[in-house]
């Protein structure tokens, strides 16, 4: 199977300041391989280098060092672009054109013939629920409508690889739901989806694999099931089992007491191994379950930043 995306020691420095002497690193030695098929979520805080990575992949930006390959060809190749759909983070189109005219322009760039182009444009406008606005000028569109047109132009050529930068921004709940359906349809049609988003709950639901980028460096990449499956366990202890509480308290990484008096202990992998040794002696009512951390927790751990306004044991109970 071909690789949808491959970056080899990809590095990009931007030159800032008036005299362009100061170099700002945006990407540092990024090596990433994404095989064809599936949905890959590319995550990172603002300024992590996600958009720069995408621009390198789309041939808009020349890497300072390293190489970006898409569908096993150099990213700058014009031929490979025939098989890619791309939605930028802030879709900005030629405002003087109507939605129909703009999509027909894109279709012409994809070398579609007149009748085929018109038919395909009508199909994608229908798919993104913008058919009634086909003859309206783009400069009169709202952010959400532009986002829909952005999605329409991205799927116009039935892409083998769909690269989406913040595709859910500006969409209302109905639009987000529609977008997810479009993604599913594209995936079913065999497309590989690579998308950046800050909405981690959506990424968690839609992606099989993720990569997390921070300060231009790849912090983690792989299948979600593998990445999130290694985070110790959680033990729920009823209020009545005071002895177990005393036993577990020194071993846990976090603990909290619920309003009903029950205790919840979190253990890392080392703690979980020690708990496993104690488990046979636990009285009935003590529940031990593997702890699958959320993508959000994983994201914060990987980027080395805590959640604002949340400390250990704060959510839903009182720290012990």
């Amino acid at each position: 199977m071909a690789n949808a995306i491959e970056t080899i020691h990809l590095t990009k420095h931007y030159r800032g300041s008036f005299f362009r002497l100061k170099k700002t690193p945006a990407l540092k030695d990024l090596s990433l391989v994404i095989p064809e098929g599936g949905v890959f979520g590319f995550l990172g805080p603002n300024g992590a280098g996600k958009t720069t990575t995408i621009r390198c992949l789309m041939g808009l930006v020349t890497p300072t060092a390293g190489e970006a390959r898409v569908l096993d060809e150099p990213a700058s190749s014009t031929r490979v672009k025939e098989q890619i759909g791309f939605l930028p983070d802030t879709p900005s189109f030629a405002g003087h054109l109507t939605a129909n005219e703009f999509l027909l322009l894109c279709a012409r760039l994809f070398k579609m013939g007149g009748a085929t182009a018109r038919q395909r444009v009508a199909e994608v406008l229908e798919e993104v629920d913008m058919a009634p606005h086909g003859h309206s000028r783009l400069d009169g569109f709202s952010r959400g409508m532009l986002q829909r047109i952005g999605i329409a132009q991205a799927i116009l050529n039935r892409p083998r690889l769909l690269i989406l930068d913040e595709p859910l921004l500006g969409l209302d709940p109905h639009g987000r739901d529609q977008f997810k359906q479009i993604i599913r349809r594209q995936q079913t049609a065999g497309a590989t989806i690579f998308f950046c988003s800050h909405i981690l709950s959506d990424v968690e639901k839609m992606c099989e694999s993720v990569g997390i980028l921070d300060h231009g460096e790849l912090q983690a990449a792989g299948k979600l099931s593998e990445l999130l499956d290694r985070n110790g366990q959680t033990v729920l202890v009823p209020a009545a089992c005071a002895a177990v509480v005393q036993e577990l308290l020194p071993l846990c990484t976090a603990s909290q007491r619920h309003a009903d008096g029950d205790y919840l202990f979190d253990f890392d992998e080392a703690g979980a191994r020690r708990v496993a040794a104690l488990t046979p002696g636990f009285p009935p009512g003590v529940h031990v379950r593997p702890h699958y951390e959320s993508l959000e927790d994983f994201f914060f751990r990987m980027t080395g930043r805590g959640k604002t306004g949340e400390s250990r044991g704060e959510a839903g109970g009182q720290a012990v």
Binding site: Y14, L60, E82, I84, L97, L105, L109
Partner: protein, 242 residues
């Protein structure tokens, strides 16, 4: 070629939908027609004045249309409009060529409309449209090609204000009859020799110009535009696009 024409037609559409283009054409024609009222002031030379003014207004209207690319392209690059197209199977050189053809076509069209309007006014006021007047206007139309190419060159790597100012500077130097015009390789090679297209005296006072001269000037403008376009493409290929 298919892609180039797609970009060119998009540029064409944009300008046709700009109200300011129509305002520019109508204003130019009103000013030209008004020259016929200066008969007494010019001691019967109102026809020469009208021809002179028509050439100036045609040049101005065309150049202003050509100059818009110096504003539009950097803005499109900054706002990400260009990148939406450049991620399609479209080379950067093709994108620039489309812009050049589209903008030059608009500039020529604007200048041509002013010219034709002037011919109608001249016919109505003085009964004839001499050949040298037609040829002089044909030369003005040809001058839109190098000016558009220069504007596009600056627009390919500079911001809109700087690109427009530098284009104006080059146009001013291009019409220079002073020291710059005496540098044979620089003037006409690096800087566009816009005096090639400036035959006001001949047109106003009825001296023959000749189609050979018109064809030579047109050929130079195309060659110069291609050379400038190649330079712009080299620069644009290297730059990062938002």
């Amino acid at each position: 070629m298919h892609e180039i024409m797609a970009i060119a037609s998009s540029v064409w559409r944009r300008y046709l939908r700009l109200g300011v283009v129509y305002f520019l054409v109508i204003s130019a024609l009103i000013i030209i027609a008004a020259m016929n009222l200066y008969g007494t002031l010019t001691m019967g030379e109102e026809r020469a004045l009208m021809v002179d003014m028509s050439m100036f207004m045609t040049t101005l209207a065309g150049f202003l249309a050509a100059l818009t690319v110096a504003f539009d392209m950097p803005r499109e690059i900054r706002e990400g409009v260009a990148s939406t197209l450049l991620v399609k199977p479209l080379g950067r050189t093709q994108y620039l060529a489309g812009k050049l053809i589209g903008t030059a076509a608009v500039a020529i069209m604007v200048a041509a409309v002013v010219s034709v309007g002037f011919f109608v006014i001249l016919k109505l006021c003085h009964g004839t449209v001499p050949l040298e007047v037609v040829q002089s206007h044909a030369l003005i139309l040809a001058s839109m090609i190098p000016v558009t190419a220069v504007a596009l060159l600056f627009a390919s790597f500079l911001g809109e204000a700087v690109a427009a100012l530098l284009t104006l500077l080059v146009v001013w130097l291009g019409f220079s009859a002073g020291l710059v015009a005496k540098l044979p390789l620089f003037y006409g090679g690096v800087l566009p020799d816009l005096n090639l297209f400036n035959v006001r005296a001949e047109a106003a006072y009825g001296f023959a110009i000749g189609w050979g001269y018109v064809a030579t000037a047109l050929a130079w403008s195309v060659v110069y535009a291609i050379a400038i376009q190649a330079l712009a493409a080299m620069i644009f290929e290297c730059r990062d696009v938002k």
